[in-house]
Symmetry: C2
Subunit: 419 residues, 2 copies
């Protein structure tokens, strides 16, 4: 049963992203209408809303955050703390992760659920999760995350990338596993450093784009390869995207190389990405990173994700996409209000566009996947990443004042701590 408390009919006195104060009316899980408040303290007829009214006292209302790059199957959340193992190269880190995975006794399902809850508490409504497909795990992780996706359907949208973490052409049987993953429910096919990991750019991209074409699937490729070697692969990916008509359905994640190459290479590569409709994902890493503003000016869609959260890749990560916007903003020196709004767009509208989410936003007819933040403007929300006052999914309240409401589908029992 839908009570007026769990499914309010109006979010009263919110600040919209454009600064207007408004009352947002909800019906059947959608935004029904947005009524601007009269200036100088006028308020609408309060009786109209009945008792399904939540007064937000001027707090900023945003569409739910989008975490454009997560690894639900990798997190250690829900298990005991796992100290980070050293190892610098991508291949060393993959090895460290395989060893950690063999040690873990808490199943993927339980850890992934714990992470989903953490993300929801911070107002994330949608994520694209890469899921490891490799010779050792086979499709086990995929099956676990498919199960989690079903169980959290009322909390979060989960888009799944079949991710060849141990390589494509150099890992026995992986092309067939990726094919099977797409048949069994993965939405996109992934890739990993065609040059740096597989040492066979054409070979890996033939497999990845071949699968995308056969299954009508999107593509999201991890690319850590540096400088010119990286940029050349980006242009190769852009050419294949254009050839297959995959405009808007291909992402390259990380693309550190765009922060390293000479201006002319950057311009040429950005132009190719923009023309082909290839998006770039960043999490604002410590080293070189894609130049957010330059890419946007060139017409390239840039969006953001957490990447690893408390797993074998690094011990950091909170799942808070507003904090992620701060991290990217600091790394990119986004300072003015316009620039802070860009940072916010990376975790909202731009990410929603890259994921192809439907009915996303605050317009009437949008799905009421919403988050209210203790800030008076988008700029302040990014700079301060303050408390989440309200998180809702399809009109249902999931979180109030940072804490999940009672009765949500819970993570598995047996986790080690209450906090």
């Amino acid at each position: 049963m839908q009570s007026s408390r769990s499914h309010p009919s109006v979010l009263a006195d919110v600040t919209l992203p454009d600064g207007r104060r408004a009352d947002v009316f909800l019906r059947d899980g959608l935004v029904a209408s947005v009524q601007e408040r009269a200036p100088y303290g006028g308020t609408p007829d309060e009786t109209a809303a009945g008792d399904g009214r939540v007064d937000l006292g001027g707090a900023l209302l945003l569409p739910a955050f989008v975490d454009g790059h997560s690894h639900l199957d990798k997190t250690f959340l829900g298990a005991a703390w796992q100290p980070h193992a050293e190892g610098g190269t991508i291949r060393e880190r993959v090895g460290a992760e395989l060893r950690a995975r063999r040690r873990l006794t808490v199943p993927v399902t339980e850890r992934a659920l714990r992470l989903v809850h953490r993300m929801v508490e911070h107002g994330t409504g949608h994520t694209r999760s890469h899921v490891d497909i490799d010779p050792e795990a086979g499709l086990d992780n995929l099956h676990a995350v498919l199960d989690v996706r079903e169980r959290v359907r009322d909390l979060m949208t989960v888009q799944i990338v079949a991710f060849p973490q141990s390589g494509v052409v150099t890992a026995p049987g992986v092309p067939d596993l990726l094919d099977a993953a797409l048949r069994e429910g993965a939405d996109l096919v992934g890739g990993l450093d065609p040059h740096g990991f597989d040492g066979d750019v054409a070979g890996q991209l033939d497999v990845v784009f071949g699968l995308a074409e056969r299954h009508g699937a999107g593509v999201d490729i991890h690319l850590h390869d540096p400088g010119e070697i990286g940029a050349e692969q980006l242009r190769d990916i852009a050419a294949r995207t254009a050839a297959l008509g995959l405009d808007g359905r291909v992402t390259v994640s990380h693309a550190y190389c765009l922060g390293e190459v000479a201006d002319a290479t950057l311009a040429r590569t950005a132009s190719a990405l923009a023309a082909a409709g290839v998006s770039i994902l960043t999490n604002g890493p410590a080293g070189s990173m894609p130049p957010v503003l330059r890419l946007r000016e060139a017409g390239v869609r840039v969006f953001a994700g957490s990447d690893n959260i408390r797993d074998a890749w690094w011990p950091y990560g909170t799942g808070d996409m507003l904090e992620r916007a701060t991290i990217i903003g600091l790394r990119s020196e986004l300072m003015t209000d316009d620039e802070l709004r860009v940072a916010a767009s990376l975790v909202t509208t731009e990410a929603a566009g890259a994921l192809g989410l439907e009915r996303y936003g605050l317009e009437p007819g949008s799905r009421a996947d919403l988050v209210a933040v203790a800030a008076a403007s988008v700029a302040e929300a990014v700079a301060a990443h303050p408390r989440r006052l309200l998180v809702m999914r399809a009109g249902r309240v999931l979180v109030t004042d940072g804490c999940p409401v009672a009765g949500l589908p819970a993570p598995e029992p047996g986790v080690q701590r209450a906090w």
Copy 2:
């Protein structure tokens, strides 16, 4: 009156920084004793503690955080949101700040109090605040922050640096103003880019170290000058520190140059800093920054601070020193548990050492300035910067579960929002 609720006599079942579980007994605002818990679930005699017992369920207990570099007088907190004004050089930013200051109608006292409260909510017990001393403001900001220091004495320790934000030898009357500031209660004398801002390294350092010697004051100099020019000034500061016997009482804040110079210059400069007992402060900035581990290996004390929080320099900053440890950890790629413990030390013991705080720590006899964090280890606390379950000052509870308790000295009324 001291109730057992506001002044508990025992913090039961905490995790100590070294991983042991213990009960921490408090008396007269100090740590009276630390009693390790028996392993395998044994608990001490609960009746012994009476009703002044707070059970922390295994949460990590740390000494209160130290924010080694703040600018209490600069923050916009408590005023309406101020969009960031562009301007890249230090001089342009100083100009932008002077213009912002003239526009603000909310007094320094009110804004600084608001910032102190924000810091306390995150578990900060001590800060070193630089306070602008310049021809336009004279000693006005100093007087305001001296007032704030008195008013928050039961919340936080405030150490004051007389900071010549508009230069020393090129700003009319500033040497005399710094002299007056030290007479009126400033604890340290500051400086600013002797080369880059004043264009007179010897001139500025003569004034700064002359005042330090005359007043028996410490020194904390902002140094943004790059590369070799910066490193040369660091060695100059080290030489003056050694000559005056100021070992342990001189800090250089920021010192970006240490992240830019060649290895040999870094080694030579670090060696000079270590020998003279000059500390380095960092906030983990976006560009080049001091190499934390390298400097520590060379024997240089490194510690951390927020720097600007929501002011004319940038819109970012939360006052959360555990988040600061995360920012520095990410920038410095601190990943292993040992490295995460280093990150934590930058905002606790190392900062306390640099500030010369007495009775700091968890040992019996330490002042009970404590913070309990929703984490099971120091490593996890840094990686996750989770909720503050308890903050206390001299044995008095200030914050429970992230929220200030009732009855604290409040920021001025008239601030714009409840959150």
